[in-house]
Amino acid sequence: MTVQKEPETILELKGITKLFPGVRALDSVHFDLKKGEIHSLMGENGAGKSTLIKVISGVHHPDAGHIILDGKERVFRGTKEARDAGIATIYQHVTSYPHLSVAENIFTGHELVKNGIIQWKEMYRRSDELLHELGADFKSTDEIEALSVAQQQMVEIAKALALDSRIIIMDEPTAALTKQESEQLYLITERLRDKGTSVIFISHRFEDMYRLASRVTVFRDAKYIGTYRVDEISKRDLIKAMVGRETSEMFPKIELERGEEALRVENLSLTGYFHDVSFNVHRGEILGVTGLVGARRTEVMECVFGARLPSSGTIYVKGEAVQIRHPQDAMDHGIGLLTEDRQYQGLILDWTIGSNITLPIISELGNGILTNERAERSKAKTLAEKLNVKAQSIFDKAKSLSGGNQQKVVVAKLLASDLDVIILDEPTKGVDVGAKAQIYEIISQLAGQGYAIVMVSSEMPEILGMSDRIMVMCEGRVSGFLTPDATQEDILHLAMTKDTEGEE
């Protein structure tokens, strides 16, 4: 047949520079997007991806450079102008109206009106059409609050479609999705592409990129590094482009002598969640806990930490049975938990780094009535330095830190108390490649210092690379233990092994 014609370029950015007070967020970067292309944008946190999409979508105004849309230079003075030009953005944090209906979320800003009167019927009808097109299983009259994150994202896509957008920007759309939900998003995205819509896809997950994109553009430190064809670049080279260094040392595992038993859990059950979970962890050991979504790993750890009350079972700390009815009990017995939802459960974002770190030990440092600020400061400083938190000082606010650094502050906060066992729930979730390596290093160090570590994670490479032993769970039961020389297939096999007859 004929040689396939190279599709036309729909959007081109040349030499875009964006300055914020004290920061060069984008430094003369390039980007181009073809019609009907899925183009992945990658880079570590703070590389400038989000700033770039904000420039494209008219939120920020570039200080230098050109935006060329359909061969014509354009200047967007606001989000509305970009939107009218056919550019829609699905932001990282879903920007929906939680109290309003799906239809309203789709049409807010461009409501369907006749003589100034909102045409509800028409809006519901059009919305249902769009939802149907996307294969959604909910109605336009549903309230957004009642939807799952994946469904909310679908609403955002429907919103983009309602605007007849030719360019859809998706900022980390899969970050909060399960595998299954991600797959559904992939299908939708591919369908959009086949219809000629161009998609800019931002994600930390390599699998997203390999699955979807035909080209990938990499940013690093606000600079343009390069654009590659996805089928022509290896993961290794890509990581190198993103991080600027080799990451063969990704898992800095140190072989350690296993110490005495620090924590033993026997026949722990929580009705409706999990049954007869037993495991132990020794000092200097990293126990990896993995499983598929719904394996109830988090619930088990919350019971161990006293955030939930188990219906039966015994917890032994250093060989002695203990009663843990409240997180404070767990802390008193030397058990600390790093929650999955760091921002909400782990940190007070408006407080300084230092105050966050010393919050759990304020009363210990003080004399019972007054707090001891000097001791707090020096303790916080030591811990922040120990974990290499990147900030001007411990007086910076926690919210000014990147995700990886916030993670470190949460770990520092844990270390401030006197602990033996540290439970980490998805420690690298939503963290970029570079910060991941640092977190692995911290975990290794902690094990080296004699802490017993329980690391819950869905990422198999991380589980295999870091753990001394691996516990696999499946739908509320422990389905087996593995050694780190196991393969991903072994884990998957156990993770899908159920002893009861399930339906799926």
Partner: protein, 333 residues
Amino acid sequence: MKKNNVLKTLASSREISLLMVMLLIVAIITWRNPIFLTLKNISDMLTNYSTTMILALGMMLVLLIGGIDISIGATIALSGMFSALIMRDNQGVPVVVAFLMSIGVGLICGLLIGLVIVKGKVPPIIATLGFMNIYRGLTYLMARNQWVPAYQIPTAYKQFATGRYLTFGVLNNMITVMLLCYILFFFFLKYTKTGRRIYATGSNVEAAQFSGIDTDRIKFFAYGTMGLLSGLVGALWVSIYASAQGDMAMGIEMDVIASCVIGGVSLSGGRGSVTGVFLGALIMAILGNALPLVGISQFWQDGLKGLIILVAIILNVLTQRSIIANNLRRRQA
């Protein structure tokens, strides 16, 4: 199956749970004193509380965008006093003109508040606390700390509050104005762009800005409308009490906010309906009207009123929680 669905809808609607609370209160009151449920008493009650009910609409707008306005009592006094003074000095001023003047003063008051909150980025409670004192002080200054007694107010004006001519003899004028406001707001909030954008702004400011909504203008609009309604109520107040005093409508903001909260308006913005506010304000009116009727001592009335407000709100919160729980369950399914 169908019956089950109806029950579910009943349990999952805040408005219906409110209605049931109201019916319960009405039932108890009627049992204690049947006079309550007479046409005359209900008409009197609505006439007297039409002011609070109208204000609840404005407050709802302000709460919807995540703000609050505690200066409305002072705005009422200032605008009411302004038109009363004009009428005292010019007996021939037509009723409509007097109303328009009061509304105008209220509107200006509201816009000023909006300006300080939106442009000055002052927290609403602080800004309106300031204006509450400023407007109240202005009222006393303007009137030279005197009041405008009944004989100085034109008869036609005083008759507005007792007349029924707006509906050609069917309803009291005050009630008519109040109902008109509710119909207008119901339509405005449901069927106009601006109305829906108020909800959008309150639900998620950032998202609203990304959708190209001028959220500053929306906020300005809300405070302006609150001022306008306060001006209207200022005019009504002078008419119904047939006098204008410097300390009139003092403390009314609390009843108004309570009406909204009972009606299910979220103090953090984004949630609330005209129907809910109507029921909430009606419950406040019933409490105010009926507690003296059932022979509860003056001293107990306030406490009891507070208690009933709390119970109504707790029930409301529980309903809301069951709605959220339902949603979560559906999400899991």
